[in-house]
Symmetry: C2
Subunit: 136 residues, 2 copies
């Protein structure tokens, strides 16, 4: 392989750990890690309106390499967010589609995207100020 899809380990202080023997925040962290992944978010968005083929996605997300698209899709498939359907034709055809779980995730992701959308100016301004006061 070469690339691990495993999340990084995070220790949470006892006072913050929600439930001692049910679920610590590690699993949540690993999920956030996938959402945080640049490409995952875009793939999820691109699959909003129905299934897509591999190269179709590759063209839609201009700039992603074949390798990264493969890796991203594998990760999403592993998490049960996307299904992979192979049509045994020649040439081969593979469809990727959001699962119910994936569609559920889309909602909070969209909310985040919309927040980013509506506040991008404020953030850009803050960055400029910071860079001026600083690096200037």
């Amino acid at each position: 392989m070469g690339t691990s899809l495993e999340p990084t380990h995070i220790d949470f202080p006892a006072e913050r750990r929600p439930d001692p023997n049910h679920s610590d925040c590690r699993s949540v962290a690993s999920i956030l890690a996938r959402v945080g992944d640049k490409w995952s978010v875009f793939v999820i968005m691109m699959l909003s309106d129905g299934p897509k083929r591999f190269n179709e996605l590759k063209r839609m997300i201009n700039g992603i390499s074949q390798r990264m698209l493969t890796l991203t899709l594998r990760g999403l498939e592993r998490d049960g967010l996307v299904t992979r359907t192979i049509f045994p034709t020649i040439p081969p055809r593979v469809d990727y589609e959001l699962t119910d779980l994936g569609r559920g995730l889309q909602q909070p992701v969209k909310a985040l995207g919309e927040w980013a959308m509506t506040h991008q100016d404020q953030i850009a301004a803050a960055r400029t100020r910071f860079d001026e006061r600083n690096g200037g």
Copy 2:
């Protein structure tokens, strides 16, 4: 320095670019990139209930290195999400606090966290299934 806080470049296909001359998705991507950042999310969460000092945060987020906490806080400060207040005492004291912008971001982030919370079992199960069918 050594570490760039700049987002990675993303090209969007013309059909998907929301508005040609106002804002392409790059800025949104750069915001998502910060949220996607493992540590940023946790720092934002830890600052929910008021300002915190550097080492206080470091203890709360067990596992983060001093270096990464510094870098993370700088990034959040640059984006206008947290403020940094220095008390010129000896020993020095520095407080970090969420801005209004930061508190606003907390909402969608929390939504995402809650989704992750409530679906972690499904995802864990999916991962196990995938790993069994696969690596097995």
